[in-house]
């Protein structure tokens, strides 16, 4: 049967869903509607290799226009401003109307913004898309003392890149550790030390009271009355799912679009995937919303299968990474449900991993080390988690013993 399938959102989840649908369904029309006038591209390099000029914009596309053409996947740059789920129609800002039989919502997430005086709104920069990365790259070339508000992944990756561009960098974080939302303090402290060793200033436990513009520079007043002078400000203070379009509809929302393990929403024939989806994870038996490369890809693929009629549960164990200076940090699973923590290694040069166990099984792990030193063990950990293996803690804690001994074939 030939259907009209619309994918709303031209990011990673959208393109992987589109290609997966085509793998399973040669007939249906597949159309991606994207708000950026760009084919889907990789975002992780924006804060790293793109700022460092090691990768150009054209290196970032997931697939060329030829791939989409060969697979008969349409991409249209358009902004949708109204959805009618009852009649299965989307309305665009240019009066175009799109009818669908199946709809995938992959609108992603958007940056939270600082609450500031109106006259400063254009002075604070954020980084999510290629356009913003280009602006930051251009402007920082003439700046020397840069302040980053927010000590999460994006802020710290930018801090690492700007330090490598010989800039003086100050990071202000409201919490008592870096990357506090998902990373254990022990690991965050190791990363913090590396930033300090490279000359970055890290300020924890401080709130911003006021930002004042002084000619081309700024003064940032903190809640302990200290004053920071800076000539450029970038904020990375978290993100929220992009759901404004659905707020007055029947679509069930709760920290994103609520979906089951098959990427199905509360409305028939409407699916959601990637950052925007608060999905049920059958392994962890709870709902969660993830913002990561691996999740956007795999969740998009899973949605694609389900849209094409291949009923598939989403069971991927979460995994993400961050690269800062010469460090590669990786996180697998969930690190907030545990009754025991086991440490493997104590030297960042050889890699340090913390395992989070419940009932002698790994629920999650977080590691950091010089590039290449934690990836293999974290990958094995994902497999052990997925297989619900009861683990030998002696092997976990001894870096001289290989973790692959724990995998039962």
């Amino acid at each position: 049967m030939k259907n009209n399938i619309i994918i709303l959102g031209g990011g990673q989840a959208g393109i992987y869903a589109a290609r997966e649908i085509r793998q399973n369904d040669s007939k249906s029309n597949i159309k991606i509607l994207g708000e950026e006038n760009l084919l889907p591209y990789e975002r992780p390099p924006l804060s790293k290799d793109f700022l460092l000029d090691k990768k150009k914009a054209e290196d970032l596309y997931f697939h060329s226009s030829d791939v989409l053409k060969n697979e008969n996947i349409e991409f249209e740059n358009i902004s949708i401003n109204k959805v009618d789920f009852e009649n299965k129609k989307l309305f665009a800002n240019n009066d175009n109307v799109y009818s669908y039989d199946s709809l995938l919502i992959s609108t992603g997430s958007e940056n939270k913004k600082l609450t500031l005086d109106n006259n400063l709104k254009n002075d604070i920069y954020y980084l999510r898309n290629l356009e913003e990365a280009k602006k930051i790259k251009e402007i920082v070339s003439n700046k020397n003392k840069i302040t980053i508000i927010g000590g999460g992944f994006i802020g710290l990756e930018i801090a690492s890149s700007l330090s490598q561009l010989q800039k003086k960098v100050i990071v202000i974080e409201i919490g008592n550790q870096l990357m506090g939302r998902v990373i254990p303090k022990q690991i965050a402290d190791l990363v913090q030390n590396t930033h300090i060793e490279h000359g970055n200033e890290i300020i924890l436990n401080k709130q911003i009271e006021k930002i004042t513009k002084k000619n081309d520079d700024y003064e940032i007043l903190l809640n302990d009355n200290s004053l920071i002078e800076t000539d450029f400000i970038i904020a990375g203070i978290g993100s929220t799912p992009t759901v404004k379009l659905f707020e007055n509809t029947n679509l069930k929302l709760d920290n994103g679009i609520v979906t089951n393990q098959f990427c199905e929403t509360s409305i028939k024939d409407v699916y959601a995937a990637g950052d925007v989806s608060n999905f049920y994870h059958p392994f962890y038996e709870r709902n969660m919303r993830l913002e990561s490369y691996q999740h956007a890809q795999n969740h998009g693929i899973c949605a694609g299968k389900n849209i094409a009629g291949v009923k598939t549960e989403y069971t991927s164990i979460p995994w993400m990474w961050s690269d800062q200076f010469n460090l590669n940090l990786q996180l697998t699973g969930i690190c907030d449900e545990y009754d025991e923590i086991i440490e493997r290694g104590n030297d960042i040069n050889n890699g340090v991993i913390y395992f989070f166990l419940k009932n002698n099984k790994i629920r999650g792990a977080c590691g950091v080390g010089v590039i290449g030193k934690v990836g293999r063990d974290i990958r094995i950990t994902s497999k052990l988690t997925e297989k619900d293996t009861i683990v030998d803690k002696q092997i976990l804690s001894d870096q001289n013993l290989k973790l692959n001994k724990l995998i039962q074939k």
Partner: protein, 105 residues
Amino acid sequence: MSEENWIEVGSTDSIEEEDLIRFDHQDKTFCVYKLTDGFYATDGICTHEAVHLEDGLVMDDEIECPMHQGIFNIKSGEALSPPACEDLKTYPVKVDNDKIFIKID
């Protein structure tokens, strides 16, 4: 095929099964693998970002990059999973008197 292009890597017992060793020759780096059906060799650096595959995970016929989990087929070099999309170069391997040789072009 000239004989001098075969470079000795080491003895066959220097690699555990389903594992790899790194081998550097002149200014290049390679990975040499022992799989259940024999020895194989590829370039030693991931095609996605310049990271050594020696710390990667070998599972069945696949090597997975330790940095971003790009996966390659060891025998064909084919990039199997994003973010890797460019194939990994592979090299012929032979075993002679319990020594492993790879042919570098």
